[in-house]
Symmetry: C2
Subunit: 300 residues, 2 copies
């Protein structure tokens, strides 16, 4: 986020530069850089935004800008602008960390026609017979789209590591394969935004209990969630390694404290807004001569 | 809609039965039945809803119900309920009749994770080499989803008829093929809602001019739009035939006056709401024993 000068991307466009509701200089510390320690991120904290109501108010006020930037990006692809850009938002986190809520509440304010949502479950037999990126590549966003991955290729170095589903040397290979894959995406015009929703162990228990107790939440509960929960420390280690090894300047990880749902949603929306602002999105040029078309229309 | 007793579907559930903001007894006349004449539908009219502000206010108040019904449907599929239902909304209309705005404004209030949007452009060579329903079948909504077709298989009896892109006997065959295809969908648990946005000739000119004039709308303009516009009467005839022949009790057409965008959006949302209300959507049963899981969670 351009504000504190740390980023290469700059939101030059003066026209729309109202302040982001979030103090991004502060929130930027959530970006994973050298020396990152997951254990030091407090899932209860709300860096850059102490007052929920002020944040939400300013947040809603930015919806129109977010929607317009998304439409500009979409318009470029529709108008066949060469190398029209796209955005890929990768969401990771333990069960009940709030991934679904992010999709619903953050992306609910942009045109659903411009979204391409992919949810990655346990791989099928066919998927397992291919390289781990095979099923992922098929779902990368089309030009002009905001792609959202609800879980992703990171499962292949998270659950697969924790559960020993692949040999250590294969897991090892995957970190570099992921970096190469994401670099390829970035080079072909996709901004890659990686979000880890960092929920605390007690907060997860509370949320799982709600899913067990409430009939309108039963469908979100899976008996396997507790098996995973029992491997909490192993997952924490796998996340620490994955984030450390794959957070690159062109495709950085953000580790977002997620015990407060409102906070996680606000921050992710702020990151999305800054990402789009940094893309210099213009309306595409007319591919026709307005004078000629006005005359044709009048005569029709 | 159940209210005036004309429909077989009834929104039995008492629990959520707040009035629909739209007078559906009146709006129901927009459903295409025997004797329908497109020429008699005034695109400027607003049947069932004279006061825009009252309608919009009540409309927003129904957003939560709409979102919940959609979530119930989605939950059924996620919980592997056998024969989980889905909804398919088919949008047709001349250029600039407001199809995109419907997707954005009507479906913008439900969870984007439960939407499956398909936009049908001019068919590719590969698509043309297959039966006209080949590309359509691939996009029918998965169980639990609301599918939206922005244009559809009806193009194959509209533009293809008007432009003579297929022989008359093939066009003729397609009406029945469409009826069979849609019946098949309905029998497998998909509610089919067909919306024709009826824009007037002058209003279309106004909207096309805006696309020619405004840089933020250029991308929506296509020089071919005027070629189609010049065949207005031929299209009106093709629509008349298509709507007349393919509006069935299980998959009826709605012909919606569309000169007033707010009106078309409100009506489509009302139809969607009534459709979901009529589906008896319950939260799926727990697939686990809450007592057991509570204990497992506590021990974890």
């Amino acid at each position: 986020m351009a504000k504190n000068g740390k980023s290469g991307k700059s939101s030059k466009k003066g026209k729309k530069a109202q302040p982001n509701p979030v103090d991004l200089a502060e929130a930027r510390r959530l970006e994973v850089t050298a020396g990152f320690k997951l254990a030091e991120v407090d899932p209860d904290s709300t860096p850059g935004l102490s007052d929920r109501s002020v944040g939400e108010e300013l947040f809603v006020a930015r919806d129109a800008e977010l929607a317009e930037l998304q439409e500009r990006m979409y318009a470029q692809a529709r108008a066949d602008v060469p190398n029209a850009p796209s955005v890929l938002v990768i969401l990771q986190g333990m069960d009940a960390s709030g991934k679904g809520g992010i999709v619903r509440h953050v992306f609910g304010s942009v045109d659903p026609q411009g979204l391409q949502i992919a949810s990655f479950k346990r791989p099928t037999e066919e998927e397992l017979a291919h390289d781990f990126l095979w099923r992922i590549r098929k779902q990368v966003p089309k030009p002009g789209f905001i792609g959202i991955f609800d879980r992703s290729h990171y499962e292949d170095v998270l659950v697969q590591r924790v559960r020993g589903m692949a040999p250590p040397e294969e897991i090892e290979r995957r970190y570099d394969a992921i970096i190469d894959f994401e670099r390829e995406l970035v080079e072909s015009g996709t901004r890659v935004v990686k979000i880890m929703l960092h929920v605390g162990r007690d907060e997860q228990a509370k949320r799982l209990l709600e899913r067990i107790d409430r009939p309108d939440k039963h469908w979100k509960y899976n008996e396997g969630d507790i098996d995973e929960r029992e491997l909490w420390d192993e997952y924490a280690e796998a996340y620490q390694i994955a984030l450390e090894r794959t957070s690159t300047p062109e495709a950085p990880w953000w580790c977002i404290p997620a015990n407060k749902k409102w906070y996680a949603r606000l921050i992710v929306k702020a990151i999305l807004l800054e990402t789009l602002r940094g893309m210099d999105l213009e309306w595409p040029e007319a591919s026709f001569d307005p004078e000629v078309e006005r005359a044709r229309l009048a005569a029709s």
